[in-house]
Amino acid sequence: MTQLAAFAAELLAGRIKVIDLTQTLSPEFPTIALPPEFGQCAPFRLEEISRYDSRGPAWYWNNFSCGEHTGTHFDAPIHWVSGKDLANNTTDTIPAQNFIAPACVIDCAREAAANADFVLTVAVIEAWEAKHGRIPAGNWVFLRTDWSKKSGAAYANLQADGAHTPGPDPEAVRFLVEQRDVLGFGVETIGTDAGQAHHFTPPYPAHFYMHGKGRYGLQCLANLDRLPPTGALIVSPPLKIKGGSGSPLRVLALVAS
């Protein structure tokens, strides 16, 4: 039996579970809030073309519109200015091999519940490694905060001084990219960076360092609480948008039961 046939048999037997890490694309789902004088990411919208009616008697279908960074979405390196000149930095040129990769899940749900501005540090990563082993090269690192269980205003958590949501500090991102050679960084919040990361140096370090080194981002993930600390295999191909900076996508995790 080949390895793939064995894998398929495990999948069919239900011993490999498929977990959906995706939020439903809906008009109400918050998008990133920028000052209104900046260009804005379009929210998800659905316009019905026909629904078994005079516009199309036997069929139902819609047009939809949204931004590349709406809902659960993938960030390509070209999204950030630090990654703008890299090779294979767009959704259509990233090697397909990179769309399937294992993930390490760092559970900071308790810390994020206590502090919306919780910051992932190198110390937290090293403590995780002491328990679960060194993060292997080419892995996703997912920050579990259980933020996806919130909705609406609590999820966006916008205050007068901006969003307050957890994320990594600059040193933690550099450590993951330079010391651990990760494939990318995934979060449950609207951005890979903390809500207040525009006050960090550099601003938005997860975007700056990850994309500057050609790594990827996954945002608005869900169900990270159903993943083991190691061993989940992530399937996350973005839409093949020509020159795209990212795309909404379905993110699946394969987990051995």
């Binding site: 260009g39 379009a42 205003a153 205050q159």
Partner: protein, 408 residues
């Protein structure tokens, strides 16, 4: 004296709803001058430029000197009732629903005698104040009011066919996220609306004034078709006045934008938004246009006066306003017997007009103007000095106005 109108009673669900019929509507192009004046709440008739004779009914040649130059001018509105009659039987379906109906002949101080609908407090041989009003067909008709105001005169049955008094009616203000929607909601509550629903989009995003918002907050995002239809399904049959306060103002001409992203957002909010509202709420409002003592009666659009001709510094925005104004004109034809009120505003006193010098339109001033228009049955109004000036210049010569504004 006019009897005070009691608040609306709950409907007997076993009785069919009165159909929204229209009074006779065909008019000659000349006679539409009455309609244009009525829409603005002016009492205007043709006045001969040669001999000064006031004309009625509207005509092509002066009744006194046969002169052909008969511009519409505001004329003194006083007069005396010289004959009256009460219609009890008629073949017209609209008036059959509404008999008895009082009409009379009024000798105007300015000359002609006219046939008019009579307010209930007009007494035989008494002095009257003549007004031009829009009827349920949207046509200009004469309504004679008593010489002096009387208590509760707003509640007169015949007059109410020509006005949209918010008292006792339920109002949907579509956007409570901005100060203008908030002031509008507050104003409707203050004049005794039976209910004020205030739409709020993106409830996850805090906004100024949120804590003081008057009225019942309902989720509504007019850029989201599903949101509009969901609200119409729950609220459509319980709204008599809809006021679209969704504003999406962004400065910028055509070239300095570099893309169509912002323009698309503007079109979504300014043009597709009202279209969605009309498709979702229009049919049910129209169907309730003669329902009970407080039928659905008005659809209010807040539009920039630059819909008439653009100012280049807000060029992209002005284009969306022109589209919205055109949409509103079509809605008039489709929504009768509802009144489609277009409130043209000058620059608003908001964060998007920081660089624009006063005078600017304040939220409370806009709300007061809209309320006055509804109570007086006005369909076309310009709010604030700048809008009134633009409208006057546009009426004088639209091409010249466009050139003037383009010259900066």
């Amino acid at each position: 004296m006019t009897a005070k109108l009691p608040p609306p009673q709950r409907k007997n669900p076993l009785l069919p709803t009165r159909q929204p019929l229209l009074p006779p509507s065909s008019r000659s192009r000349t006679a539409l001058g009455l309609t244009a004046a009525a829409a603005e709440g002016r009492f205007a008739l043709q006045v001969c430029a040669d001999c000064g004779a006031v004309q009625y009914p509207p005509r092509e040649a002066c009744h006194a000197c046969l002169g052909a130059n008969l511009p519409w001018r505001e004329v003194p509105a006083g007069g005396a009732l010289i004959a009256e009659t009460t219609v009890r039987i008629t073949a017209d379906p609209y008036f059959r629903q509404r008999t008895p109906w009082r009409t009379g002949i009024v000798a105007l101080d300015c000359g002609p005698s006219v046939v008019a609908h009579l307010h209930g407090d007009v007494v035989p041989d008494g002095r009257v104040r003549m007004t031009l009003r829009l009827d349920k067909s949207g046509q200009g008709v004469m309504l004679a009011l008593p010489g002096q105001d009387t208590p509760d005169m707003q509640d007169d049955r015949q007059m109410r066919e020509m006005t949209c008094d918010p008292k006792g009616r339920r109002v949907l203000v579509t956007d409570g996220r901005n100060a203008f929607g908030q002031a509008m909601a507050r104003a409707f509550i203050d004049v005794g609306a039976a209910g004020v629903f205030v739409g709020v989009a993106d409830a996850w995003k805090p906004f100024p004034g949120q804590d003081k918002l008057a009225g019942e907050v309902v989720p509504l995002d007019i850029t989201d078709t599903d949101s509009v239809h969901r609200l119409a399904a729950s609220l459509g049959g319980r709204v008599e006045i809809l006021v679209n306060t969704a504003l999406h103002v962004r400065p910028g001409g055509i070239l300095d934008r570099r893309d169509t992203v912002t323009a698309r957002e503007e079109m979504e909010a300014t043009y597709f938004g009202p279209m969605r509202l009309a498709q979702a709420f229009g049919p049910v409002l129209r169907s309730r246009g003669a329902d009970g003592t407080h039928p659905a009666c008005a659809w209010v659009n807040i539009l920039s006066a630059y819909a008439l001709a653009p100012t280049p510094t807000f060029g992209a925005f002005a284009a969306t306003q022109a589209a919205a104004l055109s949409l509103a004109h079509s809605l008039r034809a489709e929504l009768r017997p509802l009144r489609v009120v277009n409130a043209l505003v000058g620059p608003l006193d908001d964060e998007w007009h920081q660089a624009v010098p006063p005078p600017k339109v304040a939220p409370a001033a806009l709300a007061a103007s809209v309320l006055r228009a509804l109570r007086d049955g006005i369909e076309d109004l310009a709010v604030g000095d700048i809008a009134q000036d633009l409208l006057a210049r546009w009426k004088d010569n639209p091409t010249t106005l466009a050139r003037e504004l383009a010259a900066g």
